[in-house]
């Protein structure tokens, strides 16, 4: 560890208690629910709960808590809760229903997810996720979510990367949208009933902690600029991931880390920030103007075959390259999973083959995803029925017809498995602050299998949080907090000062120019492949860039109006801090696992080499003048860590 001594962090106490019950894994969640305190329905309406975010996790949580009788105060930065970025998830949602009778079970979903996460997730959490997965489908169908159906009227399913059963439920290529609309409608019903007070176009800018407990938030109305304070007995963050730290990602432009980062600065540990998922099937970027990347659903890999020409920089159009001059490299390298290997494996294979000079399209950063065989086998109408909207989207963006020429794809930043540390109850290290969905770190490990993010968001919001939050409220002990409480005033003043400070810099560079520079650096040094040297380089540069930002950023307009540059500036300022922690975490984790690939740690075949001896733990960072690293050891009693093999 000598070489790490230059880094300014310290090791803190390990985390030994995650509050997961002991005993057989299939009884733990039942045991926890039974031991949780109940709150009498008449008492629930006396408690206010703040929910920030209205995606799958936040929307389902708000609707459920309100239905239970809590008074929910809910926030989203979009103009409507229906626009949260979960809406963009395409492919599907897993559930252990075994409707196909193909050998699926709760235990198998659990097994696949732990293995897919490269043994860096918690067994107890993942088992619970698999356990409630079936209920999610029931819930969504009851709400009228129009899942794909067979002619007999029953639900259709398909398979997804990393697994060999057909457990993925889907609604054409718009599963996220349909599930989100279901949650949004349930939330809308509660808004109409007066149980949810909704604040759209409002952004959380700080967390209020009184006597060590989360008691509210400071928020800014994005239309009027008004800074307001909202008090409650518990705060739920459902604010999604922080992939936009890379500037170019598949995230919506507004997706940001501010809420979780401010909460981190108030005492919530940040876990595994370096675990970033790279999605293998994105449309390659077309030029420097690019503002974001568009994902093509991973379900395309079910029928599409991935290949590159066997000759480097083959100038021929794909249809003139004969079969025996094509390299179907995933089928060659991973014969039993073929094109359906997990995301990290498929992404890295694409990068390697492009780095070796076999890439196609502009700059050689692309591989073919070819449907010619599928169209020949199934007929065009069948392919259209399965993927039509994705094909249309591809054609719209690239002006190429994927029914006639193969799609070009390349990996991109997609999902962050890291996030705020939570215990089994989804509670952060700040009592009373719960974190759900992508904003927390808990279930995916170092890699996320396809169709599992929707599952986790809804499991947290509909089923897990409502049980554990009850327990927290039931334990009581809430003192009255007033607006003149010093902690409230301090948080409010801090938010106002920061806005003033941003506006008064009055420099020469736009917010976007800083964000692009940060993103490029993160992608180069902390993207699909990471080295100690590159990480150190970036760790030197980020603080410089941050200083430059605060010295030279230019934000036109005032704070008392709709000011989109000011919104962006606040978020980029946070990314400039979070980026450093992300780099540090990647540097300290001297192993490869899942989406975190350290070039120094690979097998002779070039696969990720895990170091279970030294790194079978969650890295939970505490904020301070120097970051403090708390390690939570991971135990595998049911799925024994092995080298992941998909060959």
């Amino acid at each position: 560890m000598g070489e790490l001594s230059m880094l300014d962090y310290t090791i803190g106490e390990p985390i030994t208690d995650t509050k997961a019950p002991s005993g057989p894994i299939d009884e733990r969640w039942s045991a926890r629910k039974f031991s949780a305190k109940l709150v009498n329905p008449a008492n629930r309406r006396k408690h206010r709960v703040i929910v920030v975010g209205t995606g799958l996790a936040g929307g389902s949580a708000g609707a459920t808590l309100a239905e239970q009788g809590y008074h929910v105060v809910q926030f989203c930065f979009q103009d409507s809760p229906r626009r949260a970025h979960s809406v963009a998830a395409q492919g599907g949602i897993n559930a252990a229903k075994n409707y196909r009778n193909d050998g699926d079970s709760v235990h198998r979903l659990f097994y696949d997810t732990v293995k897919g996460g490269d043994f860096r997730s918690r067994e107890s959490n993942v088992y619970r996720l698999a356990e409630v997965s079936a209920q999610i489908i029931d819930q969504a169908v009851a709400q009228g979510v129009p899942f794909a159906r067979e002619y007999g009227g029953l639900l259709d399913t398909r398979s997804f990367g990393g697994v060999q059963v057909q457990r993925t439920f889907y609604a054409r290529g718009q599963t996220g949208q349909q599930l989100l609309i279901g949650a949004y409608q349930a939330l809308s019903r509660q808004i109409d009933a007066g149980n949810v007070e909704l604040h759209p176009r409002t952004e959380m800018l700080d967390l209020i902690v009184v006597d060590g407990r989360a008691r509210g938030i400071v928020a800014r109305d994005l239309v009027t600029g008004e800074v307001s304070t909202h008090l409650a007995d518990a705060v739920v963050l459902a604010t999604g991931g922080y992939g936009n730290v890379f500037y170019l990602s598949t995230n919506a432009k507004g997706s940001n880390a501010s809420a979780i980062w401010r909460a981190h600065k108030r005492g919530a540990y940040f876990a595994n920030p370096c675990f970033t998922q790279i999605h293998p099937t994105c449309i390659p970027r077309s030029g420097d103007h690019q503002s974001k990347l568009t994902l093509m659903s991973e379900s395309l890999r079910n029928d599409g075959r991935i290949w590159v020409p066997k000759a480097k920089q083959d100038p021929r159009p794909p249809d003139q390259i004969p079969e025996d001059e094509r390299d179907y490299y995933l089928e060659r390298l991973y014969p039993s999973f073929g094109n359906l290997v997990p995301r990290d494996i498929a992404s890295r294979a694409a990068k390697n083959i492009c780095d070796a000079g076999f890439g196609v399209g502009p700059g050689g950063l692309g591989v073919y995803l070819d449907f010619a065989d599928a169209i020949a086998r199934l007929g065009r109408p069948a392919v259209e029925a399965r993927y039509g909207n994705l094909f249309d989207m591809y054609q719209r963006i690239t002006a190429e017809n994927p029914y006639e020429v193969p799609m070009r794809i390349y990996p991109a930043i997609h999902y962050t498995m890291g996030g705020l540390w939570v215990d089994y109850d989804l509670q952060s290290t700040i009592p009373g602050m719960f974190v759900i969905g992508e904003a927390n770190f808990s279930d995916h490990g170092a890699n996320r299998l396809g169709a599992s993010a929707l599952m986790q968001g809804l499991a947290d919001g509909y089923f897990v949080l409502p049980a554990t939050l009850n327990d927290y409220i039931g334990q009581g002990g809430f003192t009255d907090v007033t607006l003149d409480d010093p902690a409230v005033v301090e948080a409010q003043t801090g938010v106002r000062d920061r806005i003033e400070r941003l506006l008064s810099v009055n420099g020469t560079r736009s917010v976007d120019s800083f964000h692009r520079e940060l993103g490029l650096m993160m992608w180069d040094h902390c993207g699909m492949a990471r080295t100690a040297e590159g990480l150190r380089k970036a760790l030197e540069r980020v603080p410089e860039l941050r200083a430059e930002f605060w010295r030279d950023v230019r934000i036109p307009g005032t704070g008392e109006e709709l000011n989109q540059e000011l919104e962006k500036a606040g978020r980029v300022a946070d990314f400039l801090e979070l980026a450093e922690l992300l780099l540090l975490d990647a540097l300290v984790r001297e192993e490869s696992c899942g989406g975190h690939f350290r070039e120094e740690h690979q097998t002779p075949e070039g696969e990720a080499a895990r170091d279970d001896e030294n790194f079978s733990h969650v890295s939970a960072w505490e904020y301070g003048e120097k970051p403090v690293l708390h390690k939570e050891p991971l135990n595998f009693d049911y799925v024994h860590p092995t080298q992941r093999s998909y060959t």
């Binding site: 103009d79 349909q178 690019q290 719209r396």
Partner: protein
Amino acid sequence: MKLTVRVWRQSGPDTEGQLVDYPVDGISTDMSFLEMLDTLNQQLIDAGEQPVAFDHDCREGICGSCGVVINGQAHGPETTTTCQLHMRAFSDGDIIDVEPWRAKGFPVIKDLVVDRSAFDRIIQAGGYITAPTGAAPDAHAAPVPKPDADLAFDNATCIGCGACVAACPNGSAMLFTAAKVSHLNSLPQGQPERTQRVLDMVDTMDAEGFGGCTNSGECTLACPKGIPLTSITTLNREFLKAARKARK
């Protein structure tokens, strides 16, 4: 490409607005329309001027945030969302008019940003199925014939962008409301609340200041998700049936 964009500038809901000409240079045909606006905004910021406010988020055609009237057409010359409209649809030297959605139900907030919260209130009035969490029957308990499921799905694809309202000469929200009613009313789960749903949603739609439908069909032509005009027929039929039932 070099273009002139004439953008609607309005500093707040109560101020007068006007179209202002801006030349933009270095526009690539691969850019989306929003990336062209980004480019314009960087120019404005560099020149010390206020950038143009516009709504956008996912930039992949599904969140429904973006939406402007381009050369008089909602979302512009192609049937898609503004974020999925690319500059290859225009030619070098074009003059492009960019305006916000215009309708009584969508007051302007600033520049190209309008307030579409009336859509949320229409949904809150009944655009849901009352299904408490945690105790739903098994998903296979109620089979849905595939044609019904497909019809429900076709209508469920509405993204709530508001292009239908902006395109309608009456500023009507019929297509939006019709999509939700058609989605939920064509499923077995939606039957118990079928009557009340349509009455409450139509009431709210009227109260929010949206105009009536005169079957001009502009809404469906502008709809990026292809919600068909027949959904409005369904809405009318459902409404008449519900109103008759309510009178009894």
